[in-house]
């Protein structure tokens, strides 16, 4: 059973080999970037130096990066740095709750399926497997079209998409621990199923779920980005990374910085999320956890 401090100690091993140290540097850079992105997204309305992302002619239109407009300006002369930050704010405010709910619901479904097995597992697993076989974007598109393009509906659509994938991983982890000695011992000592499930099995699945949260976050950001890129996410004038890129698409010839810089910010953010997720999986020995 893992408590928080030993988990942290295992993630940030101080006595590391050179290769490990190189990974530590990359991990710190990734975490640093994520903190920067999250902090600027959360604090965007209160950052004094940040321009109003909707104000036209904050600089000459379609200018490359300059001292007054760090990321340049778009077709209407709006400040691209402010737009990137506000775009990230919306993307993260969709991805955050989506992954949070996805982890709780998907995690519980998976653990219940893996722990109880039999027909409960059969029921949950069949639904999960069918859901995983379907092209997710098509269904997100369908849900958003049916319900309407709003923040809530986009969040609902992408949340539904995360649940099956997370449930599958949680189930595999729960299966691995359901028959371990300490669970059997607790069972023989007369513990009832809620205790076995929540106190013995679930804590062992948490490290996997925590790592998966980072990877899922990346997937949701891409999913929402795809939706807004094809024009089916939260409607304008809302700013998302996807719709900035969509508007940059037609301006590649004259103002490539609009698409390139926003694409770059997205790429670095996704790299950081994937790197942190992968490293956590590796350092918490999630894959090698079987005995």
């Amino acid at each position: 059973m893992s408590d928080t401090s030993t988990t942290l100690a295992r993630v940030l091993r101080p006595d590391a080999a050179p290769r490990q140290r190189r990974h530590n540097v990359a991990l710190l850079l990734s975490v640093g970037w994520l903190i920067l992105v999250i902090a600027s997204a959360v604090l965007a309305p209160w950052l004094g130096f940040l321009d109003d992302p909707h104000r036209p002619l904050a600089g000459p239109p379609e200018e490359g990066p300059s001292w007054s407009n760090w990321f340049g300006t778009d077709q209407l002369g709006r400040d691209m740095f402010a737009r990137s930050v506000w775009g990230g704010r919306l993307s993260l405010s969709i991805a955050g709750p989506a992954v949070g709910i996805g982890i709780v619901v998907g995690g519980l479904l998976g653990v219940v399926a893996g722990y109880f097995g039999k027909w409960i597992d059969l029921g949950i697993s069949s639904v999960v497997n069918v859901a995983l076989a379907l092209p997710a974007l098509v269904f997100a598109l369908f849900i958003v079209t049916m319900l309407g393009q709003s923040y809530l509906n986009v969040t609902i659509a992408v949340t539904i998409l995360t649940i099956p994938a997370i449930a599958r991983i949680a189930r595999a982890q729960a299966l691995r621990f359901a028959d371990r000695e300490f669970v059997t011992v607790a069972d023989m000592m007369g513990a009832r199923w809620p205790r076995l499930l929540f106190r013995e099995v679930l804590p062992n699945v948490v490290p996997a779920l925590a790592s998966i949260a980072f990877l899922a976050m990346g997937i949701v950001i891409i999913a929402e980005g795809s939706l807004s890129f094809i024009g089916v996410s939260v409607g304008s004038p809302s700013i998302t990374w996807g719709n900035i890129l969509s508007s940059g698409k037609g301006r590649l010839e004259d103002a490539p910085h609009i698409a390139l810089i926003t694409g770059g910010v997205m790429f670095v953010t996704l790299m950081a999320l994937n790197f942190v997720g992968d490293e956590m999986l590796r350092r918490l020995d999630v894959r090698e956890a079987r005995i």
Binding site: V130, L132, P135, L245, K249, L252, L260, G263, F267, M271
Partner: protein, 314 residues
Amino acid sequence: MLRFFGMRLTQLALVVLAVTLLFYWMLNLLPGNPCVAAFGGAATEEQIAECERDRNLDDPVIVQWAKWGGDVLTGDFGKSYLTGRSFGEALNTALPRTLLLLAYSQILALGAAIPLGLWSGYKQNSVGDKIASGGAFALLSTPVFVLGLVLILVFAVRLDWFDLSGYQPISEGLVSHFKVMFLPSITLAAGLLPIYLRLLRTDVIGTLQEDFVGTARAKGLPVRHVLIRHVLRPSSFTLLTIFGIQAAQAVNGAIVVEFLFDLDGVGSLLVSWVAAREFLLVQTLVALIAAVFVTVTTLVDLIYSVLDPRVRRK
């Protein structure tokens, strides 16, 4: 064997019925009846009346769905009540484009992943392997639309090697066809490549530990021969499974890629119908896509069970 096949096929039929019913029923969640809700005032009285008649709105939902299913099975996919264009007609032009795009990108992805995966697993932890793994990691973190934009900027806008003029059929000449299809296929393949590469590499590393590989090497067979004939073969199972799972992923990418490159395939059709509020057509298309995918997954499962009898016993 027969029993297993029968079981899987019954399961498939049930899932297809359940999934299409789910999507059929979802339209009824909209306020008003589906015909009125779909057009949002854009259609005339007669068009709505025609739609209501075609959709059998007086029947219970499950009967409506059964009748709709019967129509679809007999090849009547409905039509746009706004433009009069039939679903089948639209799909006829769009489907070949999407299928070609998917086929090209799978060929490119597998064509690159198989040699790279074999080599990177064989030369584990070499500089080349690290570059390949790092590249795969970077590609996994690149959304399709970002990569596509970069490729357009470099190869179409700056270097002017490829056309962005929209789809060109093969009958118009192979050169112009590939000039249009190359960048979209590469973009889509780039999303699939890292997943194939990672799995194949892990598989290869595992297989290389096996005794039969040592025996083959000890017999003096050349490395290339051992890798292709002895190491790749057991991995074909993994590749087949992943191919089934990734098919869905590929369609996600195809929607974005078609939109990005103006290819007017099935994905573009879906997006334009969504924009035009042609909900009835969207629903038919989504239900069909769902049915196709559930079928593909089952078929992959069945092929798998023929190749590897152990699967059937589970």
